[in-house]
Subunit: 71 residues, 2 copies
């Protein structure tokens, strides 16, 4: 089910963000993705688009392949 994978993706984003010691606001500032949107992505609530996925990967300095690792 899509929702389960979305949830895993959200957790991956959250873990990578926390590894960097960043708040959601820090990730928003560094990626250009709005802060409330970051929260929704991390909770798996957002049907995030590839453009925003790319912005998050760039801010977190990971490849898309790494961002989807294990998913």
């Amino acid at each position: 089910m899509s929702k389960a994978i979305r949830n895993k993706f959200g957790k991956q984003v959250r873990n990578l963000r926390r590894d960097r010691g960043w708040s959601q606001e820090d990730l928003a500032d560094n990626s250009g993705v709005h802060r409330t949107y970051i929260g929704a992505i991390e909770r798996g609530e957002q049907n995030v688009s590839i453009d925003n996925i790319i912005k998050l990967a760039k801010a977190l300095s990971v490849s898309l392949e790494q961002l989807f690792k294990g998913l």
Copy 2:
């Protein structure tokens, strides 16, 4: 730039589809993603959402990690 990565993603989808000997219509039927939308994704024109990315990966029997390999 996002567009370059979107283009690569589209080529990846196209290659995987062709490896299976599928037309865009076959991939549309197997994934539940509309045919004209498949064309736009393959050309990098579509800001595809994670839910549709998941549908494509399932239809192509690849993980998300594999779908984004090298990107």
